[in-house]
């Protein structure tokens, strides 16, 4: 078998298939310039080409394809939110994820193993009842479960009552899933480039020329481009790019960290999270435990990882899974998250006529990538935000109509 594989790999009859066209020079004009080639930027390029026939599109990234938060997240996909807007939106994303492997023609390793969230106090129980009711009403798989069911779902979980915060009940979300994060970006970019979109890596957007409320030119480190319209999808750099277009965003930027342990034999099927202990984990198909939490405690533009956060994650996860006290940490890393006051994204129109916003994805933008990309592509193609994202407009903050998902998002992704 290993020899067969090697022979296949080296055979001229099966040459390696390049996914993206490499290093062309920039054209002088594009109908759409997308800033940021993460899951959201690449996805928008794909859906613009696929559904709207718009292919004169430049997908720009200052570094390499999918090297931002799309490469750094813990890949939790779920739709157990608090608001009707939130549930409907993330539910559609979870549904789109189910078909992406077929659509791309390669495996995004989508695994629907469910998500179990734990309550250790009355406040969380109330939050769970609310989420279970709204989720059922809107057609997602969600229910509250007792300690016996929790034991069956996650036998290794520490259900002792002799701990700081004993587990009272759980919120079971059978739709919860995970997928290979890089594969999403590659799949979208491959599909977009096959349809004529140009990917330009190492191309940093530095400034804009703005005339009469429109962006006429995008200035990059590789020269100027004239443009029909511009969309920003730069996650942790949202405020900085928007500022260059003269737009202020209600965002604070925080580091967000995670780590993985050494490999274990299969021990845990669902994703498990605890808002009170501020920790979540799942076991990857390779056997590692991925461990993460909410964003850092204060704003910073840095993807550094800290010892404080490792200690906090370790002490919390050992309370849930005591056997992990012997685990070795294999890798640790950080990303940069653009957090909004209501933990919902900022999508759609901006104060400029031909400039669109895809920002504020904080700690939760991986799961949203397919639906965000699809609805934003429609918004850019038609100039009108589709109903699914109307409530996420920047303007909501001026009308005090926040879409409050803090209670469903702050400590879990």
């Amino acid at each position: 078998m290993p020899f067969g594989l090697l022979k296949y790999g080296l055979s001229r009859r099966y040459p390696a298939e390049p996914h993206f066209s490499a290093g062309k020079s920039l054209k002088s004009h594009y109908d759409v310039v997308i800033i940021g080639a993460g899951a959201h930027g690449a996805g928008m390029a794909y859906y613009l080409a696929k559904y709207h026939g718009i292919t004169n599109v430049a997908l720009l990234d200052k570094a390499y394809l999918g090297g931002g938060n799309s490469a750094r997240n813990t890949a939790v996909i779920r739709s157990n939110y608090l608001t009707e807007t939130g549930v409907n939106f993330y539910k559609e994303s979870a549904r789109l994820y189910q078909d992406l492997s077929n659509e791309f023609g390669y495996n995004i390793m989508h695994e629907q193993r469910g998500q179990l969230t734990l309550a250790h106090n009355d406040t969380t129980l109330r939050n769970f009842r609310w989420r279970a009711e709204i989720g059922k009403h809107l057609g997602t798989n969600i229910e509250m479960v007792d300690r016996q069911t929790i034991k069956e779902l996650a036998p290794e979980l520490n259900l002792s009552e002799n701990v700081r915060f004993p587990i009272l009940a759980g919120l079971w979300h059978a739709d919860g899933a995970t997928a290979r994060h890089d594969a999403i970006v590659w799949g979208y970019t491959k599909g977009a480039c096959e349809r004529g979109v140009e990917l330009h890596q190492l191309t940093e957007v530095e400034d804009f020329t703005i005339e009469n409320g429109r962006v006429t030119e995008v200035k990059t480190n590789r020269g100027k481009i004239s443009c029909g319209c511009v969309v920003q999808a730069v996650a942790g750099h949202s405020s900085l790019i928007a500022a260059k277009a003269g737009i202020r965003l209600p965002i604070q930027t925080y580091p967000l960290q995670a780590m993985v342990t050494q490999n274990y034999k299969p021990l845990l099927t669902p994703h498990v999270s605890s808002p009170q202990l501020k920790v979540f984990t799942h076991q990857t198909s390779r056997g590692e435990f991925v461990i993460g939490s909410g964003a850092d405690d204060y704003p910073l533009y840095s993807s550094r990882a800290t010892l404080e956060r490792k200690e906090m994650l370790a002490s919390a996860i050992i309370e849930l899974f005591p056997f992990l006290q012997h685990a070795q940490i294999l890798r640790q890393w950080g990303g940069i998250a653009d957090v909004t006051p209501d933990y919902s994204p900022i999508m759609g129109l901006s104060p400029l006529k031909n400039y669109y916003l895809n920002a504020g994805w904080g700690t939760y933008g991986f799961k949203a990538a397919p639906v965000s990309a699809k609805t934003m592509a429609e918004c850019v193609a038609t100039g009108k935000p589709p109903a699914l994202i109307e409530d996420f407009a920047l303007e909501r903050f001026y009308r005090f109509k926040q879409v409050n998902e803090v209670g469903a998002t702050a400590e879990v992704h």
């Binding site: 930027t253 405690d297 006051p341 001026y398």
Partner: protein, 94 residues
Amino acid sequence: MKIIPCPQNGPRPVSEFSFAGAVEPRDETATDASAAWAEQVFFKENGTGVVTELWRHNPSAFWLYLERCRVTDRIIKAYPANAANSADGEEEHD
């Protein structure tokens, strides 16, 4: 462990402190009251430079200002937020 030079307690680990937001002057000239409110409440300083921030040392309830770089995390200056401390009535602790 990151250390914050507290003017009251000396160098202490960052885990003993809470971040309470950038210190920004209120825009008293605004004509549209609700837009001004929205900006005051939701739109906080989020640039990459040095920002003056309000922090609290939790065990001693002592409020301080930090001038901190939002890219390198370097603290340029730390000094007592006197107004905040006396307004809170928590200025004295020995």
